[in-house]
């Protein structure tokens, strides 16, 4: 077992090195001189230009630059943003909770509706319900979310005036974050609650709903389709017939007996959806001006803020690799038949 784990972990190393090389070189071929970027007009002074180039370590041979980059990373130094002059890692941690909070709520939406739709479709197999729900899922699966977000804004914000259009919380409320999750922070900050009651929590929730629906729609459709096919497979098995023959209620047979086994592939797919969620976050955060890492990366690409692009992309890609490998390991740990 242990050798199996360590073998899997060793396999990650070349991938991680490849990712770091790719981000390192991609950023270096992006047009635009980072030294000129930092200096602006002052860059026309050759002495100042050379000094800055040396300070940034850009006068060294490329392989030396790469080794320095990797070495610094192990000391927790991921570079400094050219635009804001703050360390990239600090910027990342400032924004990551916003994306994580959005993703959690989006996944909650995706799972609750996806599971219910999938179960209904499987139980009412080949009925009108089945067709309607699966058509609905296929539309959700094909949804251009950057458009879907705008449509939600047109209906709920512009048309009905129910929800705000942009941001995480009303500008009125100013407070120190503890967890970075506004839904939690607005509930545990006693000072804030004394002053404003539950208004900040409600404000944060109403800002969160539309982006979470926009981001959760594709995962919801995937989960609904997976749940249906996974459940249909399980429902034909002998032990389900036994459960039915024992006279258990249909609800108990489906939800307790069948779903428990049908869930394994569904949860695996959800774990592997991290990359899809980041893609969703990039588009959703751009539409709703959500201050997370998706919007941050798009902004830094537009500003050619190359340390941010390099390290931001590297951190996300590494997270995808590690999360996918963990899901994979966990799955094989649960299902020993898959170990080779």
């Amino acid at each position: 077992m242990l050798t199996f784990f360590s073998k899997k972990l060793l396999e990650l190393i070349p991938t991680l090195i490849g990712i770091s090389l790719l981000t390192f070189f991609l950023v270096r071929i992006i047009p635009g001189d980072p030294v000129m970027m930092m200096l602006g007009e002052r860059g026309s002074d050759p002495a100042l230009y050379l000094e800055m180039k040396k300070n940034l370590g850009l006068d060294l041979p490329v392989y030396q630059q790469y080794l320095n980059y990797i070495g610094n990373m192990f000391h927790g130094d991921f570079g400094t943003s050219l635009v804001s002059k703050t360390p990239v890692l600090e910027e990342f941690w400032n924004r990551f909770p916003a994306t994580l909070e959005l993703s959690f709520v989006a996944l909650l939406f995706a799972f609750s509706f996806g599971l219910v739709f999938g179960i209904l479709a499987a139980v009412k197999h080949n009925s009108l319900w089945d067709y309607l729900l699966m058509t609905f899922s296929l539309v959700g699966y094909s949804m251009p979310i950057f458009w879907w977000g705008l449509i939600l804004i047109i209906i709920f914000s512009v048309g009905l005036g129910l929800t705000p259009v942009a941001g995480r919380i009303s500008m009125m409320f100013d407070f120190d974050t503890i967890t970075g999750f506004y839904l939690i922070d607005t509930l545990i900050n006693t000072e804030l609650i004394e002053e404003e009651g539950f208004a900040p929590f409600v404000s944060s929730l109403s800002h969160l709903i539309l982006p979470a629906i926009a981001m959760g729609t594709i995962p919801m459709a995937i989960i609904a389709r997976m749940t249906r096919s996974s459940l249909l497979e399980v429902l034909h098995e002998e032990y389900i017939k036994v459960a039915k023959a024992k006279g258990l209620s249909p609800f108990r047979v489906v939800v307790v007996h069948a779903l428990k086994n049908a869930l394994i592939p569904i949860v695996t797919i959800a774990g592997l959806m991290f990359g899809t969620m980041i893609t969703g976050a990039i588009l959703t955060e751009t539409i709703f001006s959500w201050p997370g890492i998706g919007k941050w990366l798009v902004a830094s690409i537009n500003a050619r803020d190359y340390p941010v692009i390099q390290s931001g992309v590297l951190i996300i890609a590494s997270m995808v690799v590690v999360i996918n490998a963990s899901v994979d390991l966990l799955y094989q740990y649960i299902n020993p038949t898959l170990r080779k």
Partner: protein, 278 residues
């Protein structure tokens, strides 16, 4: 494709509906100049932001008076072209790498699989954005970026199929006859990997249309005044309150096209691989 497969496809509702949607889109794209009285790019200051069902402008006009119906028709040309271009580029590269990986195994397989792992570690839109920022924004570069992002899917699917075919008797026979590796790969193994490849190509078109439109939406794809649906959507964001049809129509077109290719892909999968159907 044998007769049974074709019969199964025509008995399959999603395949038929998807194929129908695509057929209509293709006809619209081909006959765009005949189907619209207006140019998709000419500005008309006498017809600014007309709502749908206005006289002479069946779907209304945009903020500079261009006919939306005509822009959507020409947009269908662009989106179908984009989808096909991306699939051709990514499937040729991905299939070749997948065949080599599956057939040779060993070090070749290891190297190609690590490249696949690396490419797959980047969330699709993120990698496309980075590639576009290297190449510079524009429709051609967006197509290249999206094609690169799609390559790993073809590698994985073709590799899996090639690994199965490699151990079959006909391959062993070809090897014993002394056939060259490239001949075995392309003449013997490749035709037998076609079934999953065709399904992936159909789904690949929908992914490509969606991703190029997303880049257009982020301002990194086609440049205005090209009537690309994602770029049109991005340009219309300022009019979300005053002219919501400008936002609604291009997105709906993207949705319909993507849905069509997803349905076709589902139908093809069920027809080509009946075992997978439940």
């Amino acid at each position: 494709m044998d007769e049974k497969t074709i019969k199964r496809f025509f008995n399959n509702k999603s395949g038929i509906i998807g194929g129908g949607i695509i057929l209509i889109l293709v006809l619209f794209a081909l006959f765009a100049p005949l189907l619209s009285a207006h140019s998709p790019t000419i500005i008309n200051s006498n017809a600014l932001t007309l709502p749908p069902f206005s006289e002479g402008h069946f779907l209304g006009t945009d903020d500079v008076g261009r006919d939306l119906w005509s822009r959507l028709l020409y947009g269908a040309r662009l989106s179908l072209g984009i989808g096909i271009a991306v699939v051709i580029i990514s499937s040729i590269i991905g299939t070749t790498l997948g065949l080599f990986s599956g057939y040779f195994g060993g070090k070749v397989d290891w190297a190609i699989m690590r490249i696949t792992d690396i490419l797959m570690a980047f969330p699709s839109i993120l990698l496309a954005i980075v590639v576009v920022s290297v190449l510079g924004p524009g429709l051609t570069n967006a197509v290249i970026a999206v094609a690169i992002v799609a390559i790993p899917q073809y590698i994985r699917i073709v590799r899996a199929a090639a690994m199965v075919e490699k151990n079959k008797d006909y391959t062993t026979a070809a090897i014993n006859f002394g056939a060259k590796d490239t001949r075995i790969i392309f003449k013997e193994i490749f035709p037998n990997t076609l079934a999953p490849l065709i399904v992936q190509c159909s789904l690949g078109v929908s992914d490509a249309i969606l991703n190029v439109a997303a880049l257009g939406f982020l301002g990194l794809g086609a440049r205005p005044p090209l009537p690309e649906w994602g770029t049109m959507l991005s340009d219309s964001r300022a009019f979300i309150q005053s002219a919501p049809w400008m936002v609604t129509l291009p997105g709906l077109s993207i949705l319909i096209a993507v849905l069509g290719f997803n349905l076709l892909g589902d139908g093809l999968r069920d027809a080509l691989n009946p075992k997978l159907k439940n």
